[in-house]
Symmetry: C2
Subunit: 509 residues, 2 copies
Amino acid sequence: MQEMATNAALNVPPGYRKAEARFERLYKLGDATRVLEWDNSAVMPSGGSEARSEQLATLRVIHHEMMTAPENADLLGAAESERAALDPWQRANLAEMRREWAHASAVPPDLVEAYSKALTVCEMRWRAARPANDFKGLLPDLRRVLGLVRQVAQAKAAKLGLSPYDALLDEWEPGGRAAQIDVLFDDLASFLPGFIEAAIAHQARLPAPLPIRGPFPVDQQLALAKRLMATVGFDFDHGRLDTSAHPFCGGVPDDVRITTRWNEADFTTGLMGVLHETGHAMYERGLPQAWRYQPVGRARGMSIHESQSLMVEMQASRSPQFVRWLAGEAAAAFGGSGPAWAPDNFLRIYHRVKRGLIRVDADEATYPCHVILRYRLERAMIAGELDLGDLPGAWNDGMKALVGIVPPDDRDGCLQDIHWPSGAWGYFPTYTLGAMTAAQFFAAATDADPTIPDALGRGDFRPLMTWLRREVHGRAASLPTPDLVKAATGRTLDPAFFKAHLKRRYLES
Amino acid sequence: MQEMATNAALNVPPGYRKAEARFERLYKLGDATRVLEWDNSAVMPSGGSEARSEQLATLRVIHHEMMTAPENADLLGAAESERAALDPWQRANLAEMRREWAHASAVPPDLVEAYSKALTVCEMRWRAARPANDFKGLLPDLRRVLGLVRQVAQAKAAKLGLSPYDALLDEWEPGGRAAQIDVLFDDLASFLPGFIEAAIAHQARLPAPLPIRGPFPVDQQLALAKRLMATVGFDFDHGRLDTSAHPFCGGVPDDVRITTRWNEADFTTGLMGVLHETGHAMYERGLPQAWRYQPVGRARGMSIHESQSLMVEMQASRSPQFVRWLAGEAAAAFGGSGPAWAPDNFLRIYHRVKRGLIRVDADEATYPCHVILRYRLERAMIAGELDLGDLPGAWNDGMKALVGIVPPDDRDGCLQDIHWPSGAWGYFPTYTLGAMTAAQFFAAATDADPTIPDALGRGDFRPLMTWLRREVHGRAASLPTPDLVKAATGRTLDPAFFKAHLKRRYLES
């Protein structure tokens, strides 16, 4: 930052420089918050939670006040009047500042407060309602949250000139629009049910996977997981691996904190979970150092973020080449031998397609069906076309049509995700946009460097990471998502890559 | 806090209530900072340090700006005009607000910045200069820091109506005054050299302590340390024990984070270190819940804080009763047997008096000599009566007079502590004020409840903690330190208790 500040002093117009200084402070404050959130989930003793809520709420309120301070409109206006003198990154930065400011200042303070309180109550209610299979018990609080979300959406829509759903989506996926997602998801929705049937029929002709019998002590799993992280390129001088109830990637770009959970009966799922979070971590670490504390220097959005975790987990780590290499590593780490430890058996485990009720347990072929269901339902809710009272029925109908099975109860149906009880309407589509983007990136990367797959077969991620660093990570938020995809791959997002990937992996091997 | 807010709304005058709200936010922000500082020392990977510095600096600047906002003078004035309507805790709270505000607003922003930068440089220089025994190399940076500290002291002195040294002292030891410390320390300084000689002669007539031979694996030491912490009353739902280069007690009252370091060759020192930090932690945890985010609800000052760590470590855990019990626990934990594991041998280890060069390794009889040396030197530096170039000579003269030995070099002499390079003039006396206070508290506690020593002999801290909770912890900062000592013990601080304790432990057993 020292160097940038010096450069800035030389040739950066004063209004823009002032806006940068304001956002630099906001990002440093936000980073402090992110470390405390990691602590909360990874190491905090249970009795600290009330105090931590107070700390986090205080930092968030200060952040919101700083972001929405009355002088900021003039500050941004002054910087925008200097636009002609700015370089492309500075212009992109300014556009991101305007977007963040608009999101924050669109919502009146009393609505922010009412919404935030309603979320706390509803999340807590959900934690009890899900295991109790009590959708009716959750309904009043969820109605209240949805009512407030729709008000928030309305307020943001007016400020941003978007539809209410797009205004919500824009927070997670800047520039994302439902009209484009509809086209992509309709394409997938017409492809996937038939594909899943074909994939299941195809694998029925192969030997069934043999279970790999444990137990696998946590310390051995941890040692192997850390070795795999290092293989991907994770730098333990700039990050940590810890344990938490729900795996996530947190912290800040120079100190990335990922978490996992361990199952001593099965190491295969946990390892892939670690590799998934490592993909997120590599993206954070690869963001450009010179723009650390500016909006343009941060992750482009959730679909690109998810593309990076799925790139490492689904495209690279479940590639036949890597899985075969991994089988040898695992056998050595756990002292395994016999047919269950054979590379072909690992492939059958890691390439299993199976209809299931739970999104987070789904394989990569059925996962998009879970997402498309939620996307369609949440759009209808925001549009006021689906009453929450009718959600369980609509959910089950959608599961039948898209996945081909129906949950026996709401616990494994519409109650399974925390997203809506925590107010995150507009988040779900980013998972599948990420999966499609990952397939397109991987195709472009292997076109550009055909050595990538064989290198993965030796546990060598360097060729792939070199491409990702240059084409994706290093670009941060300097381009809108469609332009970033086009710059990296030569074309805008096209489901054909994802479909070709699925066919190759699940029908042709 | 919910409950307090409700009470507050009923009968608290509006100006005072507004001041409380302001400080509540400041304390929550400060708590966030404290958790990040713990992370920094306990779990952060090395590559995160630059980002962390930015986060911490940002939180501290925001804190300083909020504390010194122009409207705060009027805010405090308005609250003080309602003084007659306030209860004693509210009045004490208001006085603490005024004090904190005065400290923060006394120093002009450009001096704050110059000082903070000079400290960063000087601390880093010290880390290299100490192992290199290079006092001359440190001198220019240390001169610069001292020059700025004297300016800070001058600015605070003017605002607080104190002498410059008292103004620095007041930050660590609110209300502490050098004139009173002089009297106490002169008394000790005339007693200790002769006492140390007598104690060494006394122990020469006893058998020499037998070394307890290891190694002692870290996981076994950790298990025993946690058991001892629980014995003292540490609640692991509200705190953690971790590892760091320099042991400390951090975190916040509802989530206290203590740290230690491990030596596999010797468990005896590490265990006492954990017990010391546990004493600090018990104080934090015992502060009154209803005043969590107000100045009056926090620790009274560093001498009382140190009295609580020394209460647990020196008064209770090195009492003959507890040491005998501990010997049995340690033998069981490590599978030890034979004469080295006998309770009498543990007593000889834990009651050893030995002249040494290093403050942090000193026993409780020689420790005050190290402190008095530093106190006298730092007073002279702030008064401009001792030039830093003359520090090594003055140090060695003082060591000769007070401890009876002279360091062979500055590494084990005036370069050994980080306090001055990090700007902490005025901190040292609190260690020995704490030791004296602990002795007086323990005497009062055992007068009030004569079962305390025997309970310690069964590993039972509850009678002692009951007294401490009521007489010390629960009072937080509601009384000035001398009044707190008087309320708890019936008299103001009197070195007679500490001297009697030393004589009993080191001459009469």
